[in-house]
Structure formats: C-alpha cells, structure tokens
C-alpha cells in the first residue's frame, strides 16, 4: 500500500487532479467544453508521439526523430495534395512513408548497432531537411473540409482526435503491460544481454518499435496537418522536446526497464492542463518553461530518492552482506511487478 502511495504515477495523478481543480475553481473560462477540447487537442500529437517513444525508452533506447518524421510526412502530404492526388490515397502513402523513415532508423540502430541517440539526432536533422526538399519553405492549405473536422471537431468536450489518442493509449497499455512482448521490453531495458540469452528476440522487437514509431509519427502528422489546415516543412518543429519531457515526466527511466503507459498519459494530461491554466493566467512563456523544467527535474528526482529510501530500509534490518547493493539482477520476471 505504502509503495503504491509513493509511486511516481500516484504523485503525478494527484498533481494532475490538483491542476485541473485549480483551473476549474480559480481560472475564468477553464472549465468549459470549448476550453477542455482545446486543451486536449493541443497535446494530441504529443500524446501520440509519447506512446510511440515510451516502448523505445523502456528498452533503453531513444528516438529523437519523431517530430522530424511528423514534419516530413506533413510536407509530403502537402506536396502530394498540391500534385492533385486524392486525399484518400495520400493517407496510406504518408503512413507508409512514416514507417519507411522508422525503418531507416531501425536499420542503422539495430543492424549496424549504432547508438540510437546519435542516429536519431542525425535523422532529426536529416528528415527535417528532407521535408524542406519535398515542399520548400512554402505552405499548402485547402485540405478537404470533409476530413478536417475529424481533427478539429469534438463530441461535447471530447475531440475525435482524443478518442483516437485514447484508443492508441489502450493498445499501448495492453501490449506493454499484458503481453510477452511487453514483458520483453522491460527485460531488454534492464539488461540486453540477459534478455538475449533468455531467448528474447531483441533485434526483431527493437526493429518493430521503430517502425511503429514512424507509423505513429505519420499518423500524428495527418492530425497536425488537418488540424491546422496547413502542410509545412517546419510543422512540429521542436516537438520532440515536449515528447521526451512527457515520457520522462511520466516516470519512465531514461535507462530503460521502468515506466508505465498510465504514467505517460497522466504526464501528458498534466502538461496540457498546466499549460492551459498558465496561458489563461497570462503567465509568460519564460515562466512556463521554468515551471515545466522544474517539474521535469522533480520527476527524475522524486522516484530516485524514493527508491534510495526503500533500499536503505531494506538493507538495514537484514544487515546481510551488501552484495546486492546495485539494482536487483535483471530477469524477465522483474517486470511483472509493474503493471
């Protein structure tokens, strides 16, 4: 029980409820259907990309190119639309393009064994550059009004896009927490060699994570393009920082092996709510960045100190030889305690 209370996800949920309650009570215009749907829409792309990044970080890797994949796919959408291609054909093509970009990341990281940080910093620049090659610095608009409402309209306060985000979130939750593949992600994150020797097909799993990431980024690009009715090469520029922030704030360890879908989803909601409250309160951008930054540091600090405390408590009464001072030996079963 105590463990559950001290868990970062619980703290996050409390923070989230506090922010939303504060907004509802003391900020004019916050608790209105329109505003709630703005708030949710504003972070829909971040949520989609965070669900793509979470499993990658669980395995101890990273994908910083997500926002550039979004940018490229948006530019491609614009170029194809300009070329007179029907939107119904553009959608699958763009999704495939996203998967292809993810595949390039995967090949470099998994097949050539290059560090994912270096590779995806490289493709972050590369894909953004290709976006400009595809579309230049112009903007394409006039996307079909039959599809645009899918990205902008809401049922009451709940945008259609949020329903999509929730569906993707549930799929992520099932895969990550309730399937052998999900357990394998934690095992890889806690010790890749051990996972390999336990018969987990590490390479195949990592490959597919990057393909999924590319596909989800392409999906997010369609949402983005339709939502703003504007395809540009700079769409989603810098969004990767918000995505990484959401994943870390969600209590996912950057070293892999720890984190939950619920935590990430709560973190996105917290960021969206906080930003909205600060916006309505006319808090300047600089202060907003300070607050988000502090929150991020706290998110790394609190779970770390909680774990330190717990370990001390465990060690003292037993007073046994301090062999296991380090993290418990990684075995695939470790993950089962997290769900």
């Amino acid at each position: 029980m105590r463990d559950r209370l001290l868990r970062w996800e619980t703290i996050l949920l409390v923070l989230c409820v506090l922010v939303l309650a504060y907004g509802a009570i003391s900020t004019d215009g916050f608790a209105e259907a329109d505003n709630i749907s703005f708030l949710l829409l504003d972070y829909s792309e971040v949520a989609l990309l965070a669900f793509a990044l979470l499993p990658i970080v669980l395995t101890g890797e990273i994908d910083l190119s997500v926002a550039s994949v979004l940018g490229f796919c948006s530019a491609l959408t614009g170029a194809l639309w300009n070329g007179g291609m029907p939107f119904e054909t553009i959608v699958p093509l763009v999704l495939v393009a996203g998967v292809v970009l993810g595949f390039i990341n995967a090949v470099l990281i998994v097949r050539f064994g290059l560090p994912s940080l270096a590779v995806t910093i490289g493709t972050l620049g590369l894909y953004r550059g290709l976006a400009y090659v595809v579309l230049g610095d112009g903007a394409v608009t006039g996307f079909p009004s039959t599809y645009r409402p899918l990205a902008t309209a809401s049922i009451g306060f709940l945008p259609y896009v949020t329903i999509l985000v929730i569906v993707i979130g549930i799929i992520a939750m099932v895969v990550v927490h309730y399937t052998p593949v999900g357990r394998a992600l934690y095992a890889i994150g806690l010790g890749e060699q051990t996972a390999r020797f336990s018969g987990i097909r590490v390479d195949r799993i990592k490959m597919s994570l990057y393909l999924v990431s590319g596909g989800l980024a392409a999906l997010a690009s369609l949402v983005f393009t339709l939502r703003y009715n504007s395809a540009r090469a700079d769409n989603g520029n810098g969004l990767e920082l918000a995505v990484v922030a959401a994943v870390l704030l969600g209590g996912v360890s950057i070293f892999g092996g720890r984190g939950t879908v619920f935590g990430v989803a709560t973190a996105v909601l917290l960021m969206a709510g906080l930003r909205n409250v600060l916006f309505l309160g006319d808090v300047s951008n600089e202060i907003q960045n300070v607050i988000t930054g502090l929150l991020l540091i706290v998110s790394v600090l609190v779970p770390a100190s909680v774990r330190l405390l717990a370990r001390r408590r465990r060690e003292r009464p037993a007073a046994e030889p301090t062999l296991d001072e380090e993290e418990p030996c990684p075995t695939p079963t470790v993950s089962s305690q997290r769900s």
């Binding site: 903007a139 608009t141 009715n229 540009r232 769409n235």
Partner: protein
C-alpha cells in the same frame, strides 16, 4: 509481430481508405475560401466602448520590431480607455499562435490584433473567434482574408517602391547611374518594390537615371557589406545606391562611411533610425525611409477598438477615425494603409528611437 502481418494490415488500411471515394484538391466544395461575409452593420457614430480588452499577438514575443508595434497599439488602446496586452509564442512556428488565439477567445477579449506566422494555420482559430463576436485585425503579416476583418498594411508596396526612386533622384540631381542592393534574390517584399522602382524609372522625369545593377546581400550583414564594396569598385561612375532592406542599407553605410565614396555616392533605402543615426550625422547618408512601427500598432489598436465598438465592420469604403493619425479609408479586402513611409534625415532622426 511478423512482417507479413504488418504488410497485410497496411494493405487492409489502403483498401479501406481507397474504398471511400476520392477527394482531390479543388474537388472539395468547402475548400474554396468563403467570402468575407461580415454581416454586422456598422454605425460610424457609435461611441468607442469603455474598458475594451484588446490583445496583441506578435509572430514572436522576442521580435523587437513587433514589440514596438504592439507597444504603439497598447498605447492606442489606453488612449481609448481600454486595456491592451501583448502575449505570444517564443518561437515563430506556424502553429504556436493557435493556442494563444484559443486562450484569448476563452479570456473573452474584445478584439485580437495579430501578425500571422502562417496565414492558413491561424485561420480556423481566428474564424472561431470571429464567430464568437471577437473582431480580428491583422498587421505586418496578413492572415487569410476571410479570417480577419481588417488588415493594417504598413505601406502600399507601390508607394514604397516609387518613393525610393524619388528619394535617390533628389539626392543625385536627377541623372546618373544607380544600383540596388537588395536582400535575397527571391524575397517577395523586395522584389515587389523593385518592380515598382523599375516602373517608376520609366517615367520621363527620370530619363537621366540608369539602373545598372541589382546586387543581393542576402540580408546578411557581411555579404551586404562586400556587395556594396563590389558595386562601388566595379562601377566607377556610380552615383547612388538604393538598399530597400534594413540589413543592406546599414551594411552599405558602414562600408561607405570609411571609404573615399563617402558623400560622393548617395545611399538611400529602408532603414531604422537607430541603425542609421551615426551615418546620417557623419554625412554618409542624407535621407532614408521606413514606416514608423509604433504608428502601425497605433493604427491597428484604433481599428480593433472601432471594430469592437461597431464603428466599422471592415467593409470597403468605411472610414476609420484613428486619433492622432487622422482618418483612414478602408480599402479593398478590408485593407487599411498606414501611409507613405516616414523619411528620416538629420533634422528629424533624433525624434525616433527604434
């Protein structure tokens, strides 16, 4: 997990979507921009409402030029007994302004004044604002015309182009070779102005003036400096240079001020008083021009207040009463023009600080 599964899913998706018929660019009836159907009738004698809340949304909150514009606007709103404020994103990306527009709608502002980063990306949110009775004014950089009532344009492109030729002609005495030092070869603003300069030069009163070269400094200080140097050295009988960009004119002035050409070859164009002050004082530059950004904001502030009070609706032919600037007529497409650029010289430059 397997590859075949993935391929199958992708194919299925393609089949599903392809089955829904096809929508191409132009085939969509709703895509063609709706007309500017501002139906609210304007009453030119309506009083300006008191306590109006008007928000200024620049492209980027750290852009010094737009901060001056917005401060001019906030001053105008204050003059009218209202309350102005400036909010905005710290990056000038296409979408970052949309969250701000939505916030301003929720805050029930009485009007929004915006310099759009992307004319289309902000359009849906601005239309939403207009739909909720919040008038929208654009300045500096327009949004889609059906997503705002009024666009306050700093100056007519034609007037900017033609006035540059008038300035250089006065300075070189109506005859001789001139050159242009522009920004990048495909800068829309500069190219439009240069077209009007060329057109102005075909008039009989300028028949003694010959435009011999257009150089491009790419709005890069060092490149502009070198291009100015090259122009002066390669055309020995050059009489004057027009540089219709603040970067170009200040770089050229810096080169000329320490060169033998100082005072002999004339330099004019578009520059800010603060950048050009020392060169006007040391005699390198006689006169140059630019619109006053504070006045641009002031005019936008008045337009927003007049819209929010129902004095104007943004229709062509209406008259806007703009305080110390006098009256402005609303032109085609809801455009209001600030007026001819202000000309700065040794006599007035110290009155300006931007």
């Amino acid at each position: 997990m397997s590859h075949t599964n993935r391929v199958l899913t992708a194919l299925l998706a393609v089949a599903l979507v392809a089955g829904c018929g096809s929508t191409t660019k132009g085939s969509d009836p709703g895509a063609a921009g709706g007309g500017t159907g501002t139906s609210r009738a304007a009453d030119p004698n309506a009083p300006i409402k008191q306590g109006l809340k008007i928000a200024f949304l620049p492209k980027e909150i750290d852009n010094p030029y737009e901060v001056i514009v917005d401060n001019g606007g906030i001053a105008a709103v204050k003059e009218l007994g209202g309350e102005g404020k400036e909010v905005g994103p710290s990056d000038a990306s296409a979408s970052s302004q949309v969250s701000y527009i939505n916030t301003l709608i929720q805050q029930r502002q009485d009007a929004i004044v915006i310099a759009a980063n992307d004319p289309n990306a902000v359009a849906p949110a601005l239309k939403d604002a207009m739909g909720k009775g919040i008038p929208v004014v654009t300045y500096d950089s327009d949004a889609a015309p059906d997503a705002r009532q009024v666009f306050v344009n700093q100056a007519d492109s034609e007037e900017i182009g033609r006035s540059q030729v008038r300035l250089i002609s006065q300075q070189i005495g109506g005859s001789g070779k001139i050159a242009i030092l522009s920004a990048t070869p495909n800068a829309t603003n500069q190219n439009t102005w240069i077209q009007f300069m060329k057109d102005e030069l075909t008039k009989p009163e300028y028949k003694g003036i010959e435009l011999v070269k257009i150089a491009y400094g790419d709005d890069d200080d060092q490149k502009s400096f070198q291009e100015a140097q090259a122009l002066l050295q390669s055309i020995p009988d050059l009489k004057g240079i027009i540089s219709p960009t603040t970067v170009g004119i200040s770089a050229a002035a810096r080169y000329m001020s320490t060169s033998p050409y100082k005072g002999k070859v004339k330099l004019t164009g578009l520059g800010t008083p603060n950048q050009m002050r020392q060169f006007v004082k040391d005699g390198t530059v006689t006169e140059f021009a630019l619109w006053d950004p504070a006045e641009l904001g002031y005019l936008a502030g008045y337009a927003a207040a007049a819209l929010a009070s129902g004095q104007i609706s943004g229709a062509e032919g209406e008259t806007l009463k703009a305080g110390k600037l006098g009256e402005r007529r609303i032109g085609k497409n809801g455009e209001i023009i600030l007026g001819p650029p202000t000309v700065f010289n040794a006599g007035n430059i110290d009155k300006y600080n931007f």
